[in-house]
Structures are given as C-alpha cells and as structure tokens.
C-alpha cells in the first residue's frame, strides 16, 4: 500500500489534536526546566532539549507505525504481549532500582520503562482475544481469560512495585463492559471505591451500618414474592468484609507513604513542609494562576522550583500557573476532544479488533489524564502517572505515540477490511 492511499484515509483531526498537545507540552516543559542562562533548544544537557529530541524521534516512529501493514498488529498481538511480559520480568534481573522501584532499563543517559509498552501489548491482545471469541463476555471462563490477560502484567508491575502504573490497567474494565462484560463488575468496582473513600472519611463501622440500613430499605421496598434472602445476606457480608478489609489494608498493608498520600486528601492537619508539601505546592501553583495566569515563563512557583517533579508528573501545574484557568481549561478541552474523537472513530470501525483496540486507547489515555490532573487538584491521591504527550520522558511519549498511531493506522485501513 502506498503512502498516498494511507494519508487520504488518515484522520487528520486526531493527528492535529495530538500535535497540539505535544507542542503545548514541550512549551510547558521548556518553562518548567529553563535554566538561568538560556542555551540552545536542542541542548541535550537540558530537560527541554532532550524532550525536543524525543519529539523529533517520534516523527520516524509514526511513519514506521503507519507503514506497517495493519494486519500485522492483530496477527502478532500475542508475540508483542509475550515480549512485553518478558521485558517486565527481565526488570527483576537487569532493571535499575530508583527510590525502591525497579521499573527502568537504563541505556546510558536514556531509560526505558517497559510498563508503558505493556499497555500497548495488553490492549492489542485483549482486543484480539475478545474479537476472536466473537461473542460477549458472559461465560465465566472467557472472563477469567480476559482478566488473566490484564492481570499478568499488572502482577509484574505491582511487584516492581509501581501501584500507579498497575492501577491504569483497571480502566480496561470499561472496554470489557462495552464488549459485554456484565455490569455488576463495574458496579462492584464503584461500590468498592465508594466504600473505601467512606471508610477513610468516617469509621468503617458506620459505613457497615449505612450499608445495612440502605439494604434493609431496599429489601422492604422489594417485591415480597421475588425476595431472595440469600442474595441480601451474601451481598451484605461481602460489602462488610470489604469495608473491614479496607481498614485492615490501610492500617496493615499500605506503605507509610501510601497512607500519607491518602491522608492528605481527607485530613486538613497535615504538615505542609513534609507529607503535605507536594500537594500544597501544586495547589499554590495552580490556584495562584487566576483567570489568565502569570504569563508564559513568568510562573513564580515554576521558576522557584517549588513544585517537585514539575516537568514530569506535575507538569500541568505550570499550565495552571502560567496560563491560568483559561489555559488549563483549553488543555482539558483538547484532551476531551481527542478522547471523544478516538471513541467516535472506534465506534465507526467495521473490524471488531479495531473497535476494541480504539476503546483501549481512549480508556488508557483517559485514565492517565484523569489520575494525573485530579491528583494535582486534591481530588485523588497522589499517584505518579504521567500526563500523556505533556509530561517529560521518552518512554511515555514513545509509548503513547505508538499506542495512538496504531489506532490511527487501523482506522485509516478500515476501507480495506471488506
């Protein structure tokens, strides 16, 4: 297939949104990492210089992804998956340990984070598996297999340990739900989150009491002839046990730093110089932006280096500080447009594989976007995940670019799928 044919079917809207995000991302990184004496944009000793290099490298990468035959991704999905698993497992032997986490391969001054690429491989295999079985996900065995595909990399990532990256995979539940997974999986997930939050804010005993009362009301309002006592007892027991276990997990299993990250959300009396520092500085940077911000390269929080890791996970604080509410809202709207565009294209796919993969792309990008930004504005515990296309880092930029452009390629190829 000639490049001309592909380009005529490529969705340029997606590419435009992608390009805008990458460019805005680099501008923001430039501001966040600008040294006192300006040097060349391509100064590889500077963070912005490296990021510019990564962006340039993305261009041949995109051509490669587009040039490969669309069938290739579906055909070799399992190979990619196995490769990703091997890379994750290999970390325990060859990986580099930073701050207690072993999630990098190190090549000189550049690193590779296999968990970023595991997301692509998992998405491909999940899409292939669900499209292959040609049915919905009702059978328990099919569900187990699907969860297994997701669970294996999650397990390896959890062992690094990198709970944040592992958590991203949970969003694939949305994809499975779209493809027929019974609704109660998602429902149970949301109840679990609600119960967990409730038991952090109030005592777990009170949470159990509330669950009991609401179930009792439901029971009394239900049709007496259709009542299944055993269901109520089982569900109540399960929720109570879970509620208790969250307290137990919180008190006994979570690491101290993980507890702190949860505490800063619900507890006002945190030490702003210690465990509360990151969040507080992040809020100061964003909150002091006002309507239009302090101006590009004028952010005092950014210049003073008050926000830790500002060029990676906290990059959006610079947007909030220097461009204000209007700038932050613009970036958020661009993200939402990209996500909705991907979902819209996914629903248009004739190939089920393409549709599921497109859903995976949107879901993963959304999860990163949501977790990254909400943690900065005190809506979510601090979890170190990058903001797609924005955060500094070669691995994540390459991974997100490949993730997205495989879908762009699949989408451009839909006419050939007859």
């Amino acid at each position: 297939m000639r490049a001309q044919d592909v380009s005529s079917h490529i969705d340029w809207i997606t590419i435009l949104l992608y390009a805008v995000l990458v460019i805005l991302g680099w501008m923001t990184i430039y501001s966040a990492s600008l040294p006192e004496e300006t040097t060349s944009f391509l100064d590889l000793n500077q963070i912005y210089g490296k990021q510019l290099l990564f962006i340039i490298v993305c261009i041949p990468l995109i051509f490669m992804v587009i040039a490969v035959d669309a069938k290739f991704y579906e055909k070799y999905a399992l190979i990619f998956y196995i490769l990703a698993i091997l890379l994750l497992a290999g970390l325990f032997v060859f990986g580099k340990t930073i701050k207690g986490q072993t999630n990098w391969y190190s090549f000189g001054s550049f690193g590779l984070q296999p968990s970023e690429f595991a997301k692509i491989a998992t998405s491909l295999l999940l899409a292939k598996y669900i499209s292959d079985i040609q049915t919905d996900l009702n059978g328990i065995q099919k569900q187990v297999t699907a969860f297994g595909i997701i669970g294996l990399p999650v397990l390896l990532i959890l062992m690094q340990p990198d709970a944040g990256s592992a958590m991203i995979f949970a969003v694939l539940l949305f994809v499975m739900y779209r493809e027929g997974l019974p609704g109660w999986y998602l429902g149970a997930g949301f109840i679990a989150i609600a119960v967990f939050i409730a038991s952090r804010v109030i005592n777990w005993e009170i949470v159990v009491l509330i669950v009991f009362v609401s179930m009792l009301i439901h029971f009394l309002l239900s049709n007496p002839r259709k009542r299944k006592y055993i269901n109520y007892i089982l569900i109540f027991t399960a929720i109570s046990a879970f509620t208790y276990s969250t307290s137990f997990v919180y008190d006994n299993i979570l690491q101290p730093h993980q507890k702190e990250r949860i505490d800063v959300l619900f507890n006002d009396e945190v030490n702003q110089q210690a465990e509360g520092y990151n969040l507080n500085q992040s809020l100061i940077a964003i909150g002091s932006g006002g309507w239009t911000g302090k101006g590009y390269l004028e952010g005092t929080q950014t210049k003073g280096g008050f926000v830790p890791e500002q060029h990676t996970d906290y990059i959006f604080t610079t947007v909030g500080e220097e461009w204000g509410f209007l700038g932050a809202a613009t970036v958020i709207i661009i993200f939402v447009l990209l996500l909705l565009r991907i979902l819209y294209l996914a629903e248009r796919q004739r190939s089920i594989f393409s549709r599921i993969y497109g859903y995976c792309v949107a879901a993963i990008l959304f999860m990163h976007f949501f977790v990254n930004i909400t943690m900065l504005i005190k809506l979510f515990p601090t979890i170190g995940v990058p903001l797609p296309f924005f955060s500094y880092g070669g691995s994540s930029l390459f991974a997100f670019t490949i993730l997205l452009f495989i879908f762009v390629k699949l989408d451009a190829n839909k006419v050939n799928v007859w």
Binding site: F174, G289, W291, L339
Partner: protein
C-alpha cells in the same frame, strides 16, 4: 447504554476537573497570597533621616547609627541554637520564644523586630556569628543624636510605629521609626525620606535567585531632607534655663514673619533620653510625673486666663467700636461697682484716660469700656457677637494652624457659649464683666497670647506662627507667608502701643527697663483655681507678661506664663525682658536679675498644693 458509558464518564470527569479548577483559580484567592509568600522576600533600605538646624544654621539634631535585630519566622531553622542567640544578645529564653511567636502572628514572611536599637558594641558581638542564624537579619537604622539639651517639645521624638499606624498607613512596617510630637511628626514625610524596597525572588530553599520580575517593583531609597527651623537655639536654651524650677510656657515670635523664635514649656526634659533602648523606661518616668507633666507642651496646650494683657484687646475693641476715644476718662475708686452691690477691685484710684489706664492697668477703666462695647446695641447678644468676632480676627478661640501639634483652641465666649449656662437668656454685660480684664471665661494658650502681642506690634496683622524656616530646596507652605488682617483699624494701635511703652517707662514694669531698647509690654496677674480632693481651691496667681521690642520696627514679641508666679512683674516680666535683651543684644547687662531667675524657682509653691496640708496663697 454500553456505548455511552465511557464518553459520559469522560465528559463528567472533565466537568468535575473544570469545576475544581474554577474554584481553585478563580473563587479561592488564598493561593495567590501563598504563592507570593513563596515567591519573593522584601528587603528594605532605610535612608538617613534629615537633620534639623536652627535659624542661624546651628545643627541641633543629627543622627547616630543603631542596629535592629530582625527575625523572619519562616526562615528560622527548627534546630536553631536558641541558647547561643540568647547568650549573644543577652536576652532570656522566654523573651526569645515570646518574640518569635509575636513575629509569627504578625507575618511569617515579613521581618519583625526581634531586638531593637542595639548600639555598635552590642551589635558587634552578634554580627560575627550572625550568619549561623538563618532567619535573623540586621537592619541598620538611624537614631537621633541631639546636639543641644533643649527644645524637646519642639523636636518631638521618634519611636517605633505601633500596630495601629501600620494598619492605617501601608508605608510602615514593624520596626520602622516614625516621628511623634513636634516637628518630627509634622515634618515626618520630609525628614523621613522614602525607604528603598527590593523584591528578591526565592527558590524553594529560600535562596535568592535574582530580582523579582527583573526588579520592576524595586525602588531606591530617597534621602530625608534637612530642615531649618525658625527657632533660635541660643534663645531657646536661655529661656529654658530661666524657667528653672518653674512651670509655664514662653513663646517668642518675630512679628514681621510669624516665625517662632523660642517655644518653651517648663518643666521639660533632655531630648536625648528618648533615644535608644532606654527610651521606654525614660518615657514611663516622664509620664509618671503627673504634676509637672514634662511631656505636656504648655506653650501650645495650656489654656490660661490671660489676665491684664487682655486689656489691650478690650481697649482696641472699644476704640474700633467708637465707645471710647483717647480722651475718654473713667473715675476709679479702688474698684468698680456693677449692679446690685457687685464690685470689682482695683489697685488704682483717680481719673484715667486710655494711656494712663494701660500704664497703671486700671480694672475700672477696662470694665467700663467692656460694658459700653457690649451694651452698644442695647442687645448683649449682638454686642458680644461683635466683640467676639473682633477677637476671632486675631486668631483667638480657635486653632492657630501652626506647624506643630495643633494645641488647644483656648476660649473666646460667644452668645452661644452663654446660652448653655443661661438657657433662658437674662445675662447682661455685667454678668460677664470679668472678661474685660482677661479673667472670667476667656482662656488663651501662650502661643495665642504671643501671636496677639505680635499682632499689636504689627499694628493690625499677623502671620500664622510657624516653626519651619526652610526645607532643603523647597518653599514653605504659603499659609505661613500670608498676612491675616484683624478687624481693628491700624490707627487705633498707636495709642495702645504708646500705653504699652509707658508701662515700661513709668508703669507696672518700670523696674524691668533695658538700656537702649524701647520695650512695650504689659504685666498680668491671673487668678486661678484647682480642685483638691474635689474642693475648688484658689491657688497663687499666675504671673503673666507680654512684650515686644523695639517699639519701632519690632523684632521680637513674647508672651510668658509662669504658673503661680504671683504677679506679672515678679517672674514673667523679668524673664521676658531678659529674653528680649538676650535676643536683641546678645549679652545681659542685669546680671543679678538673671541670676535670680536662673536660681529661684517655685518648688515650694507647687509642693504646698500636694502637701495635703492647708496653705495660704499669694504670699
């Protein structure tokens, strides 16, 4: 449903995030302040306060360096060596904790005073190790260095601003010095200059990373300006010495300009005791003297009955209102009867015209003149209105508007004033007759009395008295160079001045003549009362004197009050004549008179009032 869930989730999440951002960035403005707290620190550079010179260019007030230890609570390390700091600065641990907490409450970011006004030696010990104590800075300020031990009431003093001032005026920060009282207060803006401000951007370790926004908000300090006062330092010092162990006030003016040559209150204090760390101790000591009240400027604040010098005004109004002329005479029989057996005593007897009446200070003459003035319109209200309007044209009964603390209004009775005491009317000229001779309800401050005699010397106009002669390169306020005319025609002043001249030649002050100087003056003796244990008690009369000299082309006009000095020629008269001689001639010919004034006080007189024992007066 299954297709819609994820898009719906994405849109809901976006709305949630946008709402939260709107709240943080737009509604909640506390983050801006926190950001500023992070972003920069403010450094001040204090200019030197302007010097103060006397009218001849003699330096009266200069500066000396002083060092404040400032603390910025945010920057103080948790593990700071408290004991070491306390030892170096010689303060207790309680003081340390207390001060730090106070500073934190004021602002964790802005430096607050930790220990004020160290001298060079105290400061040197700390300076060597200052770098080890993060959050503690040294600010150099200048304190006053007084070259003369006088004029404390004219200078006022400088002190640290209080919190009320800081709230009111954003220029001032904790630890800044501000002028209080006197010219330090009135010319604060001129003397102070403007402190320089620089905003220094900080990184998260509190290190300086250069000027904030390239220094666009920074300002350089503006030096305070020197000022020259109209005060004659020598005359001021001499007058204060003459008031040895006396209470009262002296004001000397230059009639042709309204310049204040001397402004004396007694008792006073050495201005240099209100400088440095002993300031508050000494201030409390001055405050605790509730009888002498050295912080109370009698020359501006004390409202005395003017006594006989007021007869000048009674005479002038009589002439202006045409109820008397130079030839009018009244018969005096050691006093004056007015209605129903009321009698005003007079030391004099015989037939007097205006000239003789002034020379001899005849009560009868001026009481009669006053009655004619009030009764002129057959309506005491109208008569008193015309009378008090004449007095108001002299600037009496109101603030004069000089460039010192505003002082007091004094009191010139008006029809409204008597309405309060006689709501149904019924008062007549005889009811208020005491005002004729400067007793009754009339009250004047020494500076008002001086301005009055100065107006007489000018034959009908005055300049607002003022203490500023020159501000480095600036013109003084126009209101001090504007003539104020009285409602008395110039021609009526001549006969009065002749009378005042013969007071010296043959009248009540003939013993106080100075060879070679034609002095015009008027003695005064004013009855006065105080409350002792709630009982109205009469005290020894005040000794009062007004004078100007030379008679032609007057150079000095002076008013002297000596509390409980008995009669005019006893204390006030000699003091006035000595000061005139000193100012015009530079030397004193009457050494014995001078020595008497410099060494004889009224301590006994003042002590007997507080002795708690019965006492007699006017001995």
């Amino acid at each position: 449903m299954r297709k819609v869930l994820l898009p719906a989730f994405i849109i809901a999440a976006a709305i949630l995030i946008l709402g939260r951002l709107y709240y943080l960035q737009i509604l909640d403005d506390s983050w801006i302040k926190k950001s500023d707290n992070n972003a920069y620190k403010i450094k001040y550079e204090y200019p030197e306060r302007g010097y103060i010179y006397d009218r001849d260019g003699t330096l009266m007030v200069a500066n000396q360096p002083s060092y404040d230890i400032m603390v910025t609570p945010k920057d103080v390390a948790k593990d700071i060596d408290t004991m070491e700091i306390c030892r170096l600065l010689n303060v207790t641990k309680e003081y340390f904790i207390n001060r730090l907490e106070k500073a934190r409450v004021y602002s964790p970011r802005v430096p607050s005073v930790f220990l004020p006004q160290l001298n060079k030696k105290e400061f040197a010990a700390f300076q060597e190790k200052a770098r080890r104590f993060k959050g503690f800075d040294i600010v150099k300020r200048s304190l006053r260095d007084y070259q003369i031990n006088a004029a404390a009431n004219v200078f006022g003093y400088i002190a640290q601003v209080n919190e009320a001032t800081i709230k009111e005026n954003p220029y001032y920060q904790s630890g800044d010095l501000i002028g209080r009282q006197g010219v330090e207060k009135v010319y604060e803006d001129v003397l102070r200059g403007v402190k320089g401000v620089s905003y220094i951007q900080k990184d998260r370790f509190g290190r300086d990373i250069g000027p904030f926004k390239g220094g666009i908000y920074d300002t350089i300090p503006v030096q305070g300006k020197d000022i020259t006062l109209t005060i004659d330092a020598e005359l001021q010092q001499y007058g204060e010495a003459l008031m040895f162990e006396k209470r009262g006030g002296i004001v000397a003016l230059e009639p042709q300009t309204g310049e204040i040559l001397a402004l004396i209150t007694a008792p006073s204090y050495d201005p240099s005791i209100l400088v440095g760390r002993d300031r508050s101790k000494n201030y409390r000591m001055l405050e605790s003297d509730t009888l002498g009240i050295p912080l109370y400027d009698r020359s501006l604040l004390a409202e005395y009955p003017p006594g006989s010098p007021f007869k000048i005004l009674t005479g002038l109004i009589g002439l202006q209102e045409d109820v008397i002329d130079q030839q009018s005479t009244f018969v005096c029989r050691h006093g004056f009867s007015y209605g129903r057996g009321a009698f005003m005593r007079c030391h004099d007897s015989g037939i007097n015209n205006l000239h003789e009446a002034i020379t001899k200070s005849c009560n009868t003459y001026f009481a009669s003149t006053f009655r004619l003035s009030i009764d002129k319109f057959n309506d005491p209200q109208k008569g008193l209105r015309v009378w008090s309007d004449h007095l108001k044209s002299f600037g009496l009964g109101d603030f004069l508007g000089y460039d010192l603390p505003p002082g007091r209004r004094g009191l010139i009775p008006t029809p409204e004033f008597y309405k309060r005491y006689y709501p149904n009317g019924g008062w007549r000229s005889s009811t208020i007759i005491s005002n004729a001779i400067g007793q009754g309800e009339i009250l004047m401050t020494p500076i008002q009395l001086a301005s009055m005699i100065s107006t007489v010397a000018n034959k009908g106009y005055y300049y607002t008295p003022h203490v500023i002669k020159n501000i480095e390169g600036e013109e003084i306020d126009k209101k001090f160079t504007t003539k104020h005319y009285t409602t008395i025609k110039e021609k009526y002043f001549g006969p009065i001045i002749e009378g005042l001249h013969s007071v010296y030649k043959e009248g009540t002050a003939r013993s106080l003549q100075v060879e070679g100087i034609d002095i015009c003056g008027k003695t005064g003796t004013a009855e006065n009362f105080t409350k002792i244990n709630g009982k109205q008690t009469q005290l020894t009369d005040h000794s009062i004197f007004v004078a100007f000299a030379p008679k032609d082309n007057p150079k000095i006009a002076i008013a002297v009050f000596v509390e409980n000095g008995y009669w005019g020629a006893r204390f006030a008269g000699p003091i006035a004549s000595l000061m005139i001689e000193k100012y015009l001639k530079g030397t004193i010919s009457r050494k014995d008179l001078e020595v008497r004034m410099l060494t004889k006080g009224l301590k006994e007189e003042y002590d007997k009032v507080i002795s708690g024992k019965p006492f007699s007066i006017n001995q």
